[in-house]
Amino acid sequence: MTNVAVRFQNRLAGEVRGTGQGKVRIAIADDDPDSIDLMKAALTGPAIEIEEATSGAGLVGLLTRRGPFDVIVTDVLMPWSPGLQVLRAARRTGWTTPVVLVTGLTDPSIADKVAGLGKARLLRKPFAIADLRSAVAEVMRAPRCA
């Protein structure tokens, strides 16, 4: 593991609030398998447990059957229910899990919608790995939303 990745692991460890036996649990959802692999490669580590889904419906299943998670990283536009819609529904039911949304869309209104979720960060594709790691660390550090 590189120094950068190790620093990231340590950063995350400081933010963990104990969802799973000292490990940081991350849910990743994207309809592009290459993007999932990339995000897994960027975030993976011994203290990190990653679960993945390739659609909005899959993310719902992941959250309900395999949750809770410390952080969710999801694409905005996915088949069978967009990530943004899933997260809105999750927020309505009281879920406060921090989220990082990634998207290739350029619609300026997305930023406002993501901000409306609370404890959320938006990254535009193609993003730098450093930006992804820092976004994940940042949302986990933010105070829990209502």
């Binding site: 960027a42 905005v76 819609q85 869309l105 997305i110 594709k125």
Partner: protein, 453 residues
């Protein structure tokens, strides 16, 4: 098959009107098809119809004037003839009486000559039916008048009575003739008024019909234009959604390329050559992402955005944003402009593009100076950005607002020739205009004028 993908706007929770994602109308289905009834107002039939109505009205007025003038001439001729006849008959009576009572042969001869002259004058105007006969009888009586003066002759007295009677009859006949003409003229007047009313009515009907037809066509045309505008709006919305989706689909595959290049750079003890390649991959992806963004911006830059902003606030904000890029630039501002009819985000983007251009095309021979000015000019706000960079030749200046145009001197500078095209299209969509003035190796000034809010 149901598509697993949400509709273009649905995933953002935007309201989508039922027509927004409708399919593109087929030929003949919309107002643009060849089978659609022709609704566009044709120029020539309208011009011909209006010309016909104009000719008709002018002809009616002309004929009316012509007949009125002719009628006036005939009326005065008749009155003149009648008056002359009566005067001539009275003269003849006077001469005949003087002839009868003449004291000398010479006086009698003079009276007869005068009487014969009056007879000759009356001759051509004795044309009324019945008048001729009475005139011939009077001529016979006049012919019987003696050549020499006569005293107390009963036959002469009887002749004089007969002559008086004949002249009275002729005067009465002339009076009757005049009255007959007057009655005929009055009848003609009434007829002319009626004919005017009828022709005027016909013309009014024609005008009303043509106006009705024009109004119907114009109203149909208006409906068609509204329909076309609606279709255009829908197509624009679809195009925008498509462009957004296309940008998304293009940026998606770039993500793993960019990301794996980052991860390669994290590999311990990576050879320098490999690290260099990974950095090049990363730079290429960043450039590609910029091209995609700019092409998307260009595709939607023709749509007029709504909102207003203060030029005096936007300029400092953009300067602060671009602080790092402007570090070694001698920047001056003069901000006298007011509110602009353009959203803050759009105005910021325009200014960022202009200032970014000035930075990109700086001259290596001298430190870069950039002057940003705003001022109100009539109903517009003028914003100008001037630099002392490389400038451009007149040929490049001519094409500078064309998409993908790169001047001869631009190839050393990274870019793809979309920045100014986006600025120009956006400014045009806002109802403004762009001007460029530049001298090679001296300066470039880009001035945009936007409507005031």
């Amino acid at each position: 098959m149901i598509s697993p993908w949400p509709r273009p706007d649905a995933w953002l929770g935007n309201k989508v009107s039922p027509g927004t994602v409708s399919k593109t109308p087929e030929r003949g289905e919309s107002g643009l098809g060849k089978h659609e009834p022709r609704a566009v107002l044709q120029r020539w039939p309208v011009i011909l119809a209006l010309a016909a109505v104009t000719v008709l009205i002018v002809a009616m007025i002309g004929l009316d004037l012509h007949f009125s003038q002719k009628e006036a001439l005939t009326t005065s001729e008749i009155i003149e003839n009648t008056q002359r006849s009566i005067v001539l008959l009275k003269d003849i009576r006077w001469e005949a009486k003087r002839l009868v009572t003449a004291r000398t042969v010479e006086e009698a001869a003079r009276r007869r000559r005068a009487m014969l002259e009056d007879e000759a004058r009356y001759e051509p105007i004795a044309s009324y039916p019945g008048e001729r006969k009475k005139w011939e009888r009077l001529k016979g009586l006049l012919a019987r008048l003696p050549e020499a003066p006569v005293r107390d002759d009963d036959s002469i007295l009887a002749l004089e009575d007969s002559m008086d009677t004949a002249i009275d009859e002729l005067v009465a006949l002339n009076n009757q003739e005049g009255q007959g003409h007057f009655a005929a003229i009055r009848a003609a007047h009434v007829q002319a008024i009626w004919s005017d009313v009828v022709v005027g009515g016909v013309v009014l009907c024609i005008v009303a019909l043509i106006s009705g037809w024009l109004l119907r066509v114009l109203s149909r045309q208006r409906r068609m234009i509204l329909k076309e505008v609606r279709l255009l709006d829908e197509k624009n919305a679809e195009l925008e959604a498509f462009a957004g989706r296309a940008a998304h689909d293009l940026r998606g595959p770039m993500n793993p390329i960019r990301g794996y290049a980052d991860l390669i750079l994290e590999v311990p003890a990576l050879p320098d050559k490999a690290a260099g390649m990974a950095r090049k991959i990363r730079r290429a992806v960043d450039r590609m992402a910029k091209v995609v963004d700019d092409m998307l911006a260009l595709s939607i830059s023709g749509r007029p955005p709504e909102g207003c902003s203060s030029s005096a606030l936007v300029v400092p904000h953009v300067i602060e944003e671009m602080g790092a890029e402007l570090q070694d630039v001698a920047l001056s501002t003069k901000l006298d402009g007011g509110q602009v009819g353009c959203p803050e985000g759009v105005l910021s983007q325009i200014l960022r593009n202009l200032v970014g251009n000035a930075i990109k095309f700086r001259s290596r021979a001298r430190p870069l100076r950039v002057a940003i000015e705003t001022r109100d000019v009539d109903s517009m706000v003028e914003l100008s950005v001037e630099d002392n960079g490389v400038g451009m030749d007149p040929e490049s200046a001519k094409h500078v607002f064309e998409p993908f145009y790169r001047g001869l001197t631009d190839h050393e500078v990274p870019g793809h020739g979309l920045g100014l095209a986006i600025v120009e299209r956006t400014v045009r969509a806002l109802g403004g205009r762009c001007e460029l003035s530049s001298v090679l190796d001296r300066y470039t000034r880009i001035t945009i004028r936007l409507p005031r809010a």
